[in-house]
Symmetry: C2
Subunit: 175 residues, 2 copies
Amino acid sequence: MAEASSRIMVAVNESSIKGYPNPSISSKGAFEWTIEKIVRHNVTAFDLLFLHVQVPDEDGFDDMDSIYASPEDFKHLNQRNRISGAHLLEYFVNRCHEIGVRCQAWTKLGDPKEVICHEVKRVQPDFLVVGSRGLGPFQKVFVGTVSEFCVKHCECPVITIKRKANETPQDPIDD
Amino acid sequence: MAEASSRIMVAVNESSIKGYPNPSISSKGAFEWTIEKIVRHNVTAFDLLFLHVQVPDEDGFDDMDSIYASPEDFKHLNQRNRISGAHLLEYFVNRCHEIGVRCQAWTKLGDPKEVICHEVKRVQPDFLVVGSRGLGPFQKVFVGTVSEFCVKHCECPVITIKRKANETPQDPIDD
């Protein structure tokens, strides 16, 4: 068999409770699950690709393509980098560094579900991991779910990791 | 980190074209994907659990719980075992044996989507892999899809592996 590594894309976003730049409970959960169940058995055999999609706001900054692959890369962040989500990615890149798994991380601007599928097409990972808040049908009507869209539309296998019941905030819409 | 293995359940079914006991294109695809992308990096770190759900027919045989874990276990199959799907499981157990990955395989009678979710609850694998024919919305109306039901209702993360375009038979309903 070939010895190429498996490339796992992980879509991450920020917490709506703790505020920027903390990762959401569900993206942290999805990442830790991937490490524990798949990657830790052979850390050198996998590449983690972190994608953070930011929804454009009034600040009107441009789309950017900075790529981060080691804790060093975050040393000289400027204001623009901070706004663009680099600090959120720093969390995941640092964790990968501790564990010893290769990674890359980048941000994109746009509608998360559309951008994730677009990046899957461009980067062609072996599979995509997305966290999900595990909302009921009533709550979904109001917030939609990125994970369900990805399962249906992304051009690679998708695994959805639901937030644990004991990690659900008082209002499950929060994350 | 703990050194427990990761337990991957793979739901498999028979081919509707080649006839019993051949595995369907999509279950073969789901199995080979799991090996190539996840398991082969460290075969001793994973346990594969094969579940074949048979739809009850007029033969009226009982639910059975035989478990197969090595090629030896298939040597003395009787007619009842053959009917009950053991030969289908033999394919996957033999492949695991060649690759050197631990496995277990068993059959259950019932409605595949209901039984798969029930077995997930009972066995508690780390995740479930299901193959899918990748049918369009029009075709789905008539045949339903087990994979979509599992993604929604099973109590563990589920990864759906779509059949490759170049392996799709003339009528995509076939498998």
